[in-house]
Symmetry: C2
Subunit: 141 residues, 2 copies
DNA sequence: CCATAATCGGAGTATATAGTCCGAATTAAA
DNA sequence: TTTAATTCGGACTATATACTCCGATTATGG
């Protein structure tokens, strides 16, 4: 195991969303194809993407030549949106040393130093939209 | 569950070490006392501290009025030292999106943005020594 | 010397997360 | 209209981590 900031499920969700953005012009993308190209489990990425369908982040289409597509304008979809849906915002709220009482009034030894780093992480995810990673349409023809 | 950067075990180790530094002048501190004051499991913090004894971070003393003490000058002990012993350095090396191929040659979408944040985290831990949190000796008498 | 209080070591249990499997529903294409 | 390819839902298994328990060992202090 050992992820950095997010759960595996969240990492896969982010990878999957970015993959969908990159391949947006191809229409429906099956879990099979995503799994193959990202080299992860088909059933697991499938389940993970299904959970994002409920939140209108992606659309799913059953049946032959079905698959997943982005549900919204990728410009309006930040990586933070996905993180908050899957992992919640505890990573941006909890004490990095795990002290339950840590806060402005009773700060842990690294509370003040961690604050700006956490904010930078948050802003990075907030300012990074899925659209930034689409291929420029037509550039390759 | 849901920690921020480190495993629970690592969080407890950091909390325990800082507690030992704060109470350094009291001599041996039992796992029982640490657990009570930090409100965590005695057996678990005990095991965690035991694993740090091997690495000469802390000393243990069996028998009546035994317990744990810091093994080194707290000035020469950074939080990073403890993190590396318990969790290793994968948190400072791995891709934040979990992409195994991510690197300078094949960067993930947030690779360049994450680098400085990761370095800041690392430096924060490296520059924070356990000694900074000892009470100033004599100041309270 | 004895009772007590502590770590140590090993083994075990609990829980959350990760990942699998299968059958049903659905849909497009042949 | 049939077949094949797909998501969907639920239940299941696997694994890593968190946490507990107990008996042995050790040492202090009365």
């Amino acid at each position: 195991m050992m992820t950095v900031l997010f759960s595996r499920k969240c990492e896969y969700a982010l990878q999957g969303i970015l993959y969908l953005a990159e391949n947006q012009f191809k229409g429906n993308i099956s879990a099979e194809q995503i799994a193959t190209d990202l080299d992860i489990s088909r059933d697991f990425i499938s389940k993970t993407l299904q959970s994002l369908v409920k939140d209108d982040i992606i659309q799913s289409h059953r049946g032959k030549s079905g698959g997943f597509t982005l549900a919204k304008d990728p410009d309006s979809m930040s990586l933070l949106d996905i993180v908050l849906i899957i992992d919640g915002n505890s990573v941006f709220e909890s004490c990095v040393l795990g002290l339950p009482t840590c806060g402005a009034d009773s700060p842990c030894p690294v509370h003040d130093k961690w604050g700006p780093i956490r904010e930078a992480s948050r802003k990075m995810l907030e300012n990074t939209t899925v659209a930034q990673f689409q291929p420029i349409t037509g550039s390759e023809y």
